[in-house]
């Protein structure tokens, strides 16, 4: 099965006042996850201010600035993970710095086709 492991930022971490060395160590942890067996993709997203929302009405494309939903928790990154069952995905999710730093980590299975 495939799982999307989503990382949600909620503003609880003050990256700016964090010492550079600590910031780099955390980034290195995220990068290292990519090398784990079963991880088949993943990326960090640009900040939510860079988002553009798109819809089509009467054949016209309407674009608006900003995210689809204005929420405090925003998707900040993801991994695509392949495993036999959800336990393996939960184990990877638990390794993410976000999980222990009070941010949100959500595991969702993909629809199999």
């Amino acid at each position: 099965m495939q799982y999307l492991i989503q990382i949600y930022a909620n503003g609880s971490v003050d990256w700016d006042s964090m010492p550079a060395a600590e910031r780099e160590a955390i980034t290195a942890e995220y990068i290292a996850i990519n090398d784990r067996p079963g991880v088949i993709g993943g990326a960090q997203l640009q900040p939510v201010e860079t988002a553009t929302t798109v819809r089509v009405e009467d054949g016209r494309t309407l674009t608006t600035d900003g995210p689809f939903a204005e929420t405090k928790e925003v998707l900040a990154g993801y991994y695509l993970f392949e495993a036999d069952d959800i336990d393996a995905a939960i184990e990877v999710a638990a390794l993410l710095p976000a999980a222990r730093m009070g941010q949100g980590v959500e595991v969702r299975p993909l629809v199999e086709r």
Binding site: I86, A89, P109
Partner: protein, 394 residues
């Protein structure tokens, strides 16, 4: 082949056996008793097929019991007859699946009762005071999540086991408590309605199954001991619909057989060097049914439990035990030592303070503590008990 009972399956198996015979006999020569060989092979194939059928269509047929249907599906009964040991493992896998933390606690409870207990959907719904349709829906959603989210059917690997076992034990204890505490409004008799007590019986049955399936897990024995010991006092717990305090209970109503069984399970848990939360609670429950209750020991056990759980409620219980061991002043001091904010709105803190103040003859302080407890509400039989205390203060 009649013993296999399932025509379609038997035919498939026979065809398989003949196909296999063609292949083997070609290679190894014809066996001495070809007919016996064929029958034995067909039987083995049937078992294989049953196993596969279960692995695929369900391991969920066990879960699929949400729809009204006979006790066990046909293939379940057959596997059970053919292979008892394998079946035990599968039951354990099923328990861990039903209590997987990716499922909501309500779903865990409903699935466990349905897949492993002997209750119908209607009975489970009645016990949890929800319409049957709601319970059916809950089960359907839970089974769908097991399938779609890839919740595994297996005994968790060693590094996950402690957390997952805790979740299984918590579900069983929750089922027990739902049956044990559930006193319905206006219950006139000494017990709750049958549907509630069925939960207690189911929980104990599950507890027995857990110790059989995990004979080296002290906490499983601890939980079983705790449930047996608590439930042994059931008949004495209520009198004419009123709650009877432990000290005032008619001990002749206690179930001695169940107490002995509980103590045996506790001894086993201690022999396995168990010192977890269920073992400690069982040890406390065992003290309560002794002829000579050792309150100092109970206070020590609560202290250990408080360090383990960090629970202020446990601290409150320790204070109550201290009051019995060393007098109401020591108990009051211990209550004052509990982080006040944590239990400010906890009715038992105020009723316990009221009780100790009453014993010290500080009637006015006792009154305001009891009043605060009443203000915080609770089950009707508890409120009546508090009002009787208030009346007695004059």
């Amino acid at each position: 082949m009649g013993f296999l009972g399932d025509i379609e399956l038997a035919e498939e198996a026979a065809a398989d056996a003949f196909a296999l015979a063609a292949e083997r006999w070609d290679r190894d020569g014809v066996p001495q008793h070809p007919a016996a060989w064929l029958i034995a092979t067909a039987r083995n194939r049937t078992v294989d097929r049953l196993r596969r059928r279960r692995a695929l269509a369900a391991k969920a047929p066990l879960l699929a019991r949400a729809e009204p249907e006979p006790e066990q599906s046909h293939s379940d009964t057959m596997i059970e007859q053919l292979e008892d040991t394998e079946f035990a493992d599968e039951r354990l896998e099923l328990i861990f699946t039903c209590c997987h933390p990716s499922l909501s606690i309500e779903a865990q409870v409903a699935l466990t009762l349905r897949a492993l207990g002997g209750l119908s959907v209607a009975q489970i719904a009645a016990a949890f005071l929800v319409p049957e349709a709601t319970m059916t829906q809950r089960l359907v959603r839970a089974r769908r999540k097991i399938r779609d989210a890839g919740i595994p059917f297996r005994i968790p690997p060693a590094h996950l086991l402690p957390e997952r076992l805790a979740s299984v034990l918590a579900v069983v204890y929750l089922i027990f408590n739902a049956g044990y505490d559930g006193t319905p409004p206006g219950a006139g008799s000494g017990e709750g309605p049958a549907s509630r007590h069925e939960l207690v019986e189911e929980a104990i049955r599950l507890g027995v199954a857990l110790v059989e399936l995990m004979p080296d897990e002290p906490e499983a024995f601890g939980l079983l001991a705790l449930m047996l010991l608590q439930d042994s006092r059931r008949a004495a717990r209520m009198r004419n619909g009123e709650l009877v305090l432990l000290a005032d209970q008619d001990r002749s109503l206690w179930d001695r057989g169940q107490i002995a069984a509980g103590e045996k399970a506790l001894r086993r848990a201690l022999a396995l060097r168990g010192r977890g939360q269920y073992v400690l609670q069982a040890a406390i429950a065992a003290q309560h049914v002794r002829d000579q209750v050792d309150w100092a020991e109970i206070a020590t056990l609560y202290g250990e439990l408080a360090r383990l759980t960090g629970s202020p409620v446990v601290e409150l219980n320790r204070a109550a035990a201290l009051a019995e061991a060393e007098g109401p002043l020591a108990g009051l001091a211990a209550i004052e030592g509990i982080d006040g904010l944590a239990l400010e709105d906890y009715r038992y803190l105020h009723s316990a303070r009221g009780e100790l103040l009453r014993r010290l003859g500080r009637s006015e302080e006792a009154r305001s503590a009891y009043l605060r407890a009443v203000e915080l509400g609770g089950p009707e039989h508890e409120l009546r008990f508090l009002r009787r205390r208030l009346d007695a203060l004059g």
